[in-house]
Amino acid sequence: MTTLRVVHYLNQFFAGIGAEDKADTPPGRREGALGPGRLLQQTLGERGRVVATVYCGDNHVSENVEALGDIVDLIADARPDIVITGPAFSAGRYGVACGEIAARVRERLNVVAVTAMHPENAAAELYRTKVYVVATSKSAAGMADALAAVARMALKLASGERLGSPVDEGYLPTGRRVFENAPRTAGERAIDMLLRKLRGERYMTEWAVPRYARVTPAAPLRDPSKATIALITTGGLVPRGNPDRLESGYATKWLRYSIKGLDELTPDRWQSVHGGFDTTLINLDPHRVVPLDAARELEREGIIGRLFDELLVTTGNTSVIPDIRRFAREMTQELKAAGVEGVILTST
């Protein structure tokens, strides 16, 4: 049996260089295992050897774009078969570095890369579709379990063995669909699950309903007749011809279009590029997705103080949650700075 070459990436803290005061440490490499790498080595046993540890400070890697390339170079020089990054647990900067480095290594070196972090680490959502992310506890108390799962998965992948499901192996769902022949139909399995639930027995869902963070409701608007109100839509309404190439799904951006002095959105000048439903009715009358005509009327009647001069647009279709969360943050910042107090957002 050949012993596989494993390279481990750690931040300055786990590499034993220092805490936050050493977060500016530039990339470096040591021979052999460091810190949690020693436990990783024990877990790998004879099948893998941690030949080198590459490390970098959390701030340095976040603030210097070229650091990532340097880190991947340092890893490549150690000629790995397997690259392990982290575990990062709940650490934000470390999580992003672990995800990004594992993704780059996999892409550039074409070797097995596995990382590990807590499922609620913001980086988990960013990288789980790009690399295998082992789900860990929130803190380093779960180090041994995390490394056991990481080592088992990395060795399986390196030997070309097929991985089991995320639940069985302990990694986060990657978004890939794997077809299987189920011995029983979905209906039978669902009834079985329901009966178990009714009997108070344990059952396992086949598709967990995602949970979303709660947002504290904003205080009520005192008086719309004195307020500036903005219109936003996720319905993909753009000037005809889609000059800014808004995506029909998986939107990577939001856009703004002037509606200053505009009373109506006419179908000869506006269209929806949303790819998730039949846009025929909207393309006949764009007001069916952005109520500009009605809002202008209410503005003239003094019921709305002033309509904001820009319409904010994106496409809400197969959206990637961290991306649309960013859109919301950016839109809110800009609208607040412009003195907008209320928003009417139409969603399809």
């Binding site: 979303y212 947002v215 409701p217 009520p220 005509d293 009605a294």
Partner: protein, 62 residues
């Protein structure tokens, strides 16, 4: 404003006004042009009411 008000509620939107349909959130193609505009205006006024209402959790304004 969304026709999928239950979905909006489940993901945590706090002030939700139920729209007419996915393909026509703030319109109703079965109405005459004038009636459709009046219908839309009512929906926007409903949204303004929602903005003025204190809420503690995701709330649908019907």
């Amino acid at each position: 404003m969304s026709a999928l008000d239950a979905l909006a509620k489940s993901i945590g939107s706090n002030r939700i006004v139920r729209g007419k349909a996915i393909t026509s959130v703030v319109g109703d193609p079965t109405l005459s042009r004038e009636d459709e505009r009046r219908f839309r205006k009512r929906l926007v006024r409903k949204a303004l009411e929602a903005l003025q209402t204190p809420v503690e959790e995701p709330t649908v304004f019907v």
